[in-house]
């Protein structure tokens, strides 16, 4: 898409890497231009006017000027700093996971406005006491769906028969649920409980506020997380690196909760 030399856009900062003496290379998600990589000059200096506006996971409005090779940020103003979620390590570890997932999923400069809205909606949920894990599963499923990788969950992917009561399986390679008869054709198929299947269907067909009304117990959460991350791994062809930090923080929180009087 051709863009004017200088343009304004809203964006969420997904990733930042140091560049040169005092610059940063930022990866942004924008509604109208998709994922962009831009350089932010001098933002590592303490007196930088832009630096404070361009921290990770900040919603900003930007003026970007297109250079010969790399676009540069000419102006930035914070719209939403997400202070609440950044003050809570557990919520923050989940937000960082979302940022990595968005970065991994979106190709450069492929606009997908609903995905931008979805990211913001999920970040807002992380600022509330709602079920954060369920919001993460919602984000993952919806993102897969928007990219055309959404799992088929009501009928068998192979024989297209409606799933009957009994035992069910999912296979990331097949792209969804399988009936017991079709299961042997896919080596990566794994059993899925009826509850997990129902939750996934509910998440896939309801808006986020409605989906969050579900009450999901920890064992079911673990099962959902395992199935959805298997789907993601298959689509992205790699493990997300922030998973390790999610686990570290969850373990630390569990320990400090058991030690608390």
């Amino acid at each position: 898409m051709t863009r004017p030399h200088t343009f304004n856009t809203e964006a969420v900062v997904l990733r930042a890497a140091d560049l040169g003496e005092s610059d940063r290379l930022l990866t942004l998600l924008t509604p109208a231009h998709g994922k962009l990589q831009v350089s932010a000059r001098g933002v590592r200096k303490t007196t930088s006017k832009l630096g404070g506006h361009l921290d990770l996971l900040t919603r900003v409005t930007l003026t970007i000027s297109q250079g010969q090779s790399l676009a540069t940020i000419a102006g930035a103003e914070t719209l939403e700093p997400f202070i609440t979620l950044k003050a809570d390590l557990k919520a923050l570890s989940k937000a960082l996971y979302l940022a990595e997932l968005a970065d991994a999923f979106h190709p450069l400069e492929a606009p997908m406005p609903p995905a931008y809205a979805l990211l913001l909606e999920t970040l807002h949920i992380l600022e509330t006491p709602a079920d954060h894990d369920l919001a993460l599963r919602y984000y993952e499923l919806r993102l897969l769906d928007m990219g055309g990788f959404g799992p088929q969950l009501t009928q068998c992917v192979q024989c297209q028969e409606r799933l009957q009561a009994g035992s069910h399986y999912v296979s990331p390679a097949a792209g969804g649920a399988l009936c017991p008869g079709c299961r042997p054709s896919f080596a990566d198929s794994a059993p899925i409980s009826v509850d997990a299947l129902k939750v996934l269907r509910y998440l896939a067909s309801n808006p986020l506020p409605v989906a969050l009304r579900l009450v999901v117990r920890p064992p079911l959460h673990r099962e959902l997380a395992a199935h959805v991350s298997a789907l993601l791994r298959h689509t992205l062809e790699r493990e997300l690196r922030s998973n390790a930090f999610l686990r570290t923080v969850a373990q630390q929180s569990a320990r400090s909760e058991t030690n608390a009087p």
């Binding site: 006017k49 923050l92 922030s242």
Partner: protein
């Protein structure tokens, strides 16, 4: 980029260009310019540069206590009898020691993490020198930990993680103040910085 990309330069020249090009902030053109400067340099200067590079690789080790880069283990700061051993300032990189030492206002000891938790770049707590910090806290002589990681998201995440982890071992854990920089301009300050500056205001 390979040596072939720099042909028709003579092989040793192409090799030097290639090596310099690996350095951060050095592009292909700069690497070529530096190489031709080095070629014309007096021989003793070139040897001094080469020796200095070899010396840092051969003689610099990590201090077994503070994990800073040093020639002697423990490092001069850790062995200095005038320094306050009850307070440890935790920082991200060895360069931060230099910045803090220039202020002459901190007389305690340091601990260098050699990085910051950055999940998106695959850097988790295990990759940092946190275990070494816990070892230093075992004897109970440390009364205060100052968390001096950078005031950005990853630095804050690291500080929050360390705060939770270290609470059982140290009576007092502090974080460097965040607010307006000297020479800054209120008008351009972002909300978070201004909020922090307000929260941390002090009576005159």
């Amino acid at each position: 980029m390979t040596t072939n990309d720099f042909l028709p330069a003579a092989a040793p020249v192409a090799r030097l260009i290639q090596e310099l090009h690996k350095l951060p902030g050095i592009g292909a053109k700069t690497a070529q310019r530096l190489t031709y400067y080095l070629v014309r340099m007096p021989e003793e200067d070139a040897h001094a540069l080469a020796d200095a590079i070899i010396a840092v690789k051969e003689q610099i080790i990590l201090c077994s206590q503070c994990q800073n880069l040093t020639e002697a283990d423990p490092c001069p700061i850790c062995t200095d009898p005038t320094r306050d051993r009850s307070i440890i300032c935790v920082i991200e990189e060895p360069l931060d020691v230099l910045a803090l030492e220039r202020t002459h206002c901190f007389r305690g000891l340091y601990h260098v993490l050699h990085g910051v938790i950055s999940p998106i770049n695959g850097i988790n707590a295990e990759e940092l020198k946190i275990r070494e910090l816990l070892v230093r806290l075992k004897d109970g002589s440390v009364q205060e930990i100052v968390l001096a990681t950078n005031p950005n998201l990853e630095g804050e995440a690291t500080a929050m993680y360390l705060h939770r982890l270290l609470t059982p071992f140290v009576p007092k854990i502090t974080r460097l103040a965040r607010g307006l920089p000297v020479g800054g301009d209120l008008e351009y300050a972002d909300q978070v910085t201004l909020t922090r500056a307000f929260q941390g205001r002090q009576s005159l």
